[in-house]
């Protein structure tokens, strides 16, 4: 018999707030975290728009040896995880006494790789790179750092699946616990914010162009959308078996009930309708729910013309126009590898506090998707079930269904 999987802790470090309370307020108020990064103009970007987070200072909490192996994505993930562990009431000594795993989404370490290469080009001597570089320059940097810092002894790996990485990481954690292989896993997603990480993406000409109004630049589903705004940070959710959570008296925040996945098998960057629809259907089947049971859909919608339109059509195909739909990327920008995890945190905060965050900047949707029940201003609405979509390059799709916890 499969085990029930609950969320017992959440943590967030994002451009709309660096803790759960700040983020909850930003979501309700529809606050944008998008700014202009002047460095990107010098660097040759077409669009200098980005989400931005404060640079963490971990000197007081981590040793030099620990910090030297961490790039910014690991630092963000560390802070999000500390908050999540605190909410889950898991102290350092509790973690050491049990088997806890980590499955985290990350799909780039551009800054570390480029800075390391620059040193070798300059010095012509690999021995002058330093000891931290190798641990910062691997995609699994977040899981290797956090597993070491927190002394984890369970499953330990990074999930790389483009902009669906964070969502798949939670989906994988769900499966590990459901099947009884683990009782407690740190899941999440992290995303570096720096020009190196986004230059080649900017080069595709898919970033938003409204640089005079940064807070209006990300406008998923709106007719006047011009592209996405990159962003980043980290989000963590602590997944736990129901039995384990009850046994240690942990606060249960929500229950993960479905994980759907699929691959488009088509173009490397152009999304379709069938793939996302299949992932959403699979998530519903696994959750043993009907489309009408889902009250809210947190859309992947990144503010690109075709991506948003195709997702909207997929939602209409599976759900019709009934569920509320919004894309929190209108406020946060596209948090890429982190997005699938952060949007679970955002949506769970909404479910906990009885509101649906707005899809800001949505003035007029495309004509053929108007039937969707878009939320363009925050509404107070109690709800019990939501679905969160995440899609990525290469046609990877993930859909998670989360339910308010009920004995």
């Amino acid at each position: 018999m499969s085990k029930r999987v609950v969320i017992t802790g959440m943590g967030i470090y994002s451009c709309i707030g660096t803790n759960l309370e700040e983020v909850r307020n930003s979501l309700f108020e529809g606050r944008s975290g998008i700014v202009i990064d002047k460095e990107r103009i010098q660097f040759g970007f077409k669009s200098p728009l980005t989400g931005m987070v404060p640079a963490p200072d971990l000197k007081a909490v981590l040793s030099r040896r620990q910090r030297i192996s961490m790039g910014e994505e690991s630092e963000y993930a560390y802070l999000a995880t500390v908050e999540a562990l605190e909410q889950a009431k898991l102290r350092e000594e509790d973690i050491l006494q049990r088997e806890m795993g980590i499955l985290y989404g990350n799909d780039s370490v551009s800054k570390a790789v480029i800075e390391t290469t620059d040193i070798v080009r300059d010095k012509r001597d690999t021995q002058l790179i330093g000891s931290g570089a190798i641990f910062k320059s691997m995609n699994s940097t977040v899981t290797m750092n956090l597993a070491t810092i927190f002394g984890l002894s369970g499953v330990n790996m990074t999930i790389s699946a483009a902009c669906a990485s964070g969502s798949h990481a939670i989906g994988m954690g769900f499966m590990f616990i459901q099947q009884g292989l683990q009782d407690l896993i740190i899941c999440g997603g992290a995303q570096e914010i720096n020009p190196y990480a986004m230059a080649s993406f900017d080069g595709l000409g898919v970033f938003a162009t409204d640089i005079d109004h940064p807070e209006q630049a990300s406008r998923p589903f709106d007719k006047r959308r011009t592209g996405l705004v990159p962003s980043g940070g980290a989000a963590t959710v602590i997944l736990e078996s129901y039995e384990s959570a009850v046994k240690r008296g942990a606060p249960i925040v929500a229950e993960v009930v479905g994980y759907g996945f699929s691959s488009n098998g088509g173009h490397i960057s152009t999304p379709n309708i069938e793939g996302p629809a299949k992932a959403m259907r699979r998530a519903l089947v696994q959750a043993n729910l009907r489309p009408q049971d889902v009250t809210y859909i947190n859309a992947h919608a990144t503010s690109t013309p075709l991506g948003d339109a195709n997702e909207a059509k997929a939602i209409l195909e599976v759900f019709g126009g009934n569920p509320y739909v919004s894309s929190t990327k209108s406020m946060t920008g596209h948090e890429c590898w982190m997005a699938g995890a952060s949007e679970i945190v955002y949506s769970t905060l909404m479910m906990q506090h009885g509101f649906i965050a707005p899809n800001i900047n949505l003035v007029e949707p495309d004509d053929d998707i108007k039937e969707l029940n878009f939320v363009s201003h925050a509404i107070k609405q109690e709800f019990d079930i939501y679905l969160s979509n995440s899609f990525g390059f290469g046609g990877t799709n993930s859909a998670l269904v989360v339910k308010k916890f009920n004995e």
């Binding site: 040793s63 030099r64 040896r65 030297i68 001597d125 021995q127 002058l128 790179i129 330093g130 000891s131 931290g132």
Partner: protein
């Protein structure tokens, strides 16, 4: 660069970059034990000495190095040889 300024600079690096407690640094103290060095830290010592003094320590330099004084002497010798 004279002896004293080399010593001072090395101590400054150890305190600032390696977060070593200033009080544990003395010429006769054991370098490895005082700094709690592991194999990775030696890699960083090489980097930091090169970027501050323009000389590169190699594995053989660490072989007979026991005290802080040994460390100062090796760096001092390397700087002298360079000049």
């Amino acid at each position: 660069m004279n002896k004293v300024s080399i010593y001072q600079k090395i101590n400054e690096i150890l305190v600032d970059e390696f977060e070593v407690d200033e009080e544990v640094i003395s010429p006769a103290a054991s370098l490895k034990e005082s700094l709690d060095l592991d194999s990775l830290d030696y890699v960083d010592l090489v980097v930091i000495i090169e970027s501050n003094f323009g000389v590169k320590l190699v594995e053989a330099d660490f072989a007979g190095m026991v005290t802080f004084q040994d460390f100062y002497d090796v760096v001092e010798r390397k700087i002298a040889a360079k000049n």
